[in-house]
């Protein structure tokens, strides 16, 4: 559970707050997607959840951020990192070992897990990310997408209660991106992991998020189930957030008066509606 109350933050070197008056409740086991234009405050919001703000980046912190019952200002970054696993936007800044297996073991060793448990977790996380074959490879021989999978796998191995991922699929191909979202949704569903993902890939966010948050100029402009948020297609476009094409298609048909149903969030939904409209339901 993440509770953010009246949170504002101004980085020490900035004259203005980067995020302002944020109020957000993310229940345990929720898959929360965060999107918005560049500079809208998405990353700073995630820094508040994993404690990087205020513990790493100093500045003026107003309000309260509680993660799994801990007030992030009252505990050390180490305490937060035991319950929150983070994947940075720039994965190269996160990976410090030269062999994939060593990188996987690094966090587990630091937290003092027994060796048999480490083995199980490394096997599981590498298999989940589909990179078991890379285990003995050197990190510098990996492609950008493979590095990103490694960064996610090394955090999954820690089995944290909360996962915070900043653009975790930016360098992944479409099939791998989908696999990552399916996997994160499974962790949320089966393990009760609270998943927070910052992404530009609105189609994946719309399909997988329970809660979709749209930031604009350091504030939350929309927050709710994707179906509710995507109803504001024109306002979203005005702030630099495009809807999935299947949503835009059905909105166009609604405007033309041939469709009167609700907002479609996924291709499958749009397909079902089109079949019904075209009279070709099996």
């Amino acid at each position: 559970m993440i509770e953010i109350n009246n949170f504002s933050f101004r980085y020490r070197e900035s004259s203005e707050p980067t995020v302002r008056d944020i109020n957000l409740q993310i229940p345990q086991g929720c898959f929360c997607g965060i999107t918005g234009a560049a500079g809208s405050g998405k990353s700073t919001l995630t820094y508040a959840m994993n404690g990087i703000v205020p513990h790493w980046y100093p500045g003026d912190f107003y309000g309260q951020v509680k993660v799994c019952g801990m007030d992030t200002c009252d505990v050390a970054l180490t305490d937060i990192s035991r319950v929150v696993g983070s994947v940075c936007q720039d994965v190269e800044s996160q990976i410090i070992n030269n062999i994939v297996e060593d990188e996987m073991l690094y966090g587990l060793e630091n937290f003092g897990f027994p060796q048999s448990e480490m083995e199980r977790r490394v096997d599981q996380a590498l298999a989940d990310m589909g990179i078991a074959d890379l285990r003995q490879r050197t990190v510098d021989s990996l492609s950008g997408g493979q590095l990103q999978k490694l960064a996610i796998a090394s955090v999954l191995a820690l089995e944290p209660q909360v996962l915070v991922l900043d653009e975790p699929t930016a360098e992944l191909d479409p099939a791998s991106s989908r696999t990552v979202f399916e996997l994160l949704a499974r962790y949320a569903r089966e393990h009760g992991t609270t998943v927070v993902v910052v992404e530009q890939k609105i189609a994946l966010l719309s399909e997988f998020s329970d809660l979709l948050v749209v930031c604009e100029a350091g504030a939350i402009r929309f927050a709710g189930p994707p179906r509710e948020v995507l109803q504001h297609a024109d306002e979203l476009l005005a702030i630099g957030v495009n809807c999935p094409r299947s949503t835009t298609l059905m909105n166009s048909l609604a405007r033309a008066g041939v469709y009167a149903g609700g907002t479609c969030c996924k291709v499958d939904e749009a397909l079902g509606v089109l079949e019904a409209l075209l009279g070709v339901v099996a």
Binding site: A37, A170, S176, I202, L253, A256, V258
Partner: protein, 278 residues
Amino acid sequence: MIEFRDVHVSYDAATPVLRGVNLRIEQGEFVAFVGTNGAGKSTTMRLINGLLKPDAGQVTIDGVPTGELATSQLARRVGFLFQNPDNQICCSTVGEELLFGLRALGVDEAEAHKRVARIVARFGFDANADPFLLNRGTRQLLALASIVVLGVPVIVLDEPTTGLDYRECTQVMDLIAQLHADGTTVVMVCHDMEIVADYAHRVVVMHEGRVIDDGPTFDVLRNPATLAQASLLPSQIVQLSLELAARHAELAGSPVAAANDLDQMVHACLAQLGGADG
């Protein structure tokens, strides 16, 4: 013209990355390379600008093997945009960054300043700004501008829209489309199938170090065998029209089962349903 003849590359003996790539890209084409991570796309791009040399086979630019061209000669023919602009930007002002490549190529200083002034105006940059204080999208535009200013006939782009928001992405891609319309050959790696569908004229699909399909964009993106083999997900509208065609024989040959983009699909649906177009 760029040509690959039976090109093989491996980073170490145990991991071949390219296994016999053959292809030919003519002047003025707009080609997108797609495929899963590790399929060999970025390696292929690095062969075009000579950052890598093939272990076997040959890559030629205008008939000359890249191995016989000095870096400066290749740089006059091919501009390369890295995935991360921070791997490319090295100067302390936007103006200096734009001058950097021209100076390296020995362009006369007065001519270089004239070209930079034109590019600064075209992109709307502040020439005195510190590149590292610009946001990610603007840094990507600057990296692109530093290639455009060289006036090279071929630009190679490795995931030009990664990390950009929708507006930045549209701005970068519209600019690339304009360069193509002006005669520049564009070769890009791109994972975003909406962008590939919107901008590329030809698609090359790579899988496990080989080219498994190559042709006009929608011939490739509507080929079920290619999509399955390379684990590709086409753009949402193509997904919809392919599903409608596959599931309902009565729609075979109809415009809704053949639509490739949003406008085509809206018009096709309205024509079939009798709604008000537009």
